[in-house]
Amino acid sequence: MAAVSAQGGRSGGGGGSSGAGGGPNCGTGSGRSGLLDKWKIDDKPVKIDKWDGSAVKNSLDDSAKKVLLEKYKYVENFGLIDGRLTICTISCFFAIVALIWDYMHPFPESKPVLALCVISYFVMMGILTIYTSYKEKSIFLVAHRKDPTGMDPDDIWQLSSSLKRFDDKYTLKLTFISGRTKQQREAEFTKSIAKFFDHSGTLVMDAYEPEISRLHDSLATERKIK
């Protein structure tokens, strides 16, 4: 369909990052040392197994992230992710404490410490479940747009998506929270993943990037009208 013809039109070899943000990509890079650069494949076309649902969703999410961060130059906020990492790290810490204590003071004497660690671990697991279900939901990007005048608080853009198992309909939701008025607006689209991937499993940015931009602009322009 449309995706395949776009694919045919692209020349081989230097196709590279000819998708959205071809310009900014060359310069942005990762700014890391040469070895890490060679290992990472950020800027190469994303090719995945088109039958693997989670790989498809991950690549669509990553590309949407790239568009927002590179094209619109927003700054990613890691608060949500850091929260989840902290909870997991604390849980593992309890487990390690239990392991070492039990090794140094064999069983019957270690009973109270063990009981405490086990209960704490499962409490942390409960907290983690609540955190991922209610606070994080399916949000995979929180980005800030710094106010150019430096006076107003940042505007926040959130991206969340869903793709059901064995389904081909991908829903991407963009939420805009104004820094000044604290108002929240959202826009979303649901499209079949076949519109964005060609038959070999490569994500065609030419088809995907305009969708993201359209979502973004629909939320941004509303603001200007008001």
Partner: protein, 192 residues
């Protein structure tokens, strides 16, 4: 077709890059992969320690290794144990005990018990399928077992399930290979 240059560690001929998922990740996501693996290991560990605390036994789940308790238990059965101090040990009960100096516990039936007023006991065991009692298995000069030798008393069992453990102990390479594959899968594949 459009193949914009082969990338690094493709397996030749198959074009499959096992590190593909990892290379697309930033530092936080890499850390989360490691954490994910650690959490799976921790969950298993905590469940085991939790069982130890709940049952009071240092090894709450054991596998029957020999046929000395047939027809009650067969080789490969899984046994659930508890070791509460208040429970008295009476003749006829099935206990799992460890002989001093050996680290493999034995599961046999109690056939004789001597009990003092203060609760100290001495007991003798014998496997249902054995001709003689266990005195030959005890330490040199030991004729009776005491409460401290008991790992737990059998409360329930699952037939056949323990065969997996027996196979993995007989072929340790299989066990390590299995663990390595599972570990690699968790570490290398990106969670959605």
């Amino acid at each position: 077709m459009v193949r914009a240059g082969a990338v690094g560690t493709h397996l030749p001929a198959s074009g499959w890059d096992i590190f593909g998922d990892l290379r697309k990740m930033n530092k936080r996501q890499l850390y989360y992969q490691v954490l994910n693996f650690a959490m799976i290991v921790s969950s298993a560990l905590m469940i085991w320690k939790g069982l130890i605390v709940l049952t009071g036994s240092e090894s709450p789940i054991v596998v029957v290794l020999s046929g000395s308790m047939e027809p009650a238990f067969h080789r490969g059965d899984l046994l659930f144990l508890t070791n509460f101090r208040e429970d008295p040990i009476r003749a006829g009960e099935i206990v799992v005990f460890k002989v001093e100096g050996r680290d493999i516990p034995i599961v046999h039936r109690v056939i004789k018990v001597h009990e003092k007023d203060n609760g100290d006991i001495k007991f003798l065991t014998k496997g249902d399928n054995n001709e003689v009692d266990d005195r030959g298995l005890y330490k040199e000069g030991q004729n009776w077992l005491e409460k401290k030798d008991v790992v737990g008393r059998a409360r329930g069992f699952l037939p056949y399930v323990g065969m997996v453990t027996i196979i993995m102990n007989d072929y340790p390479k299989f066990k390590y290979a299995l663990l390595a594959v599972m570990g690699a899968y968790v570490l290398l594949k990106r969670e959605s």
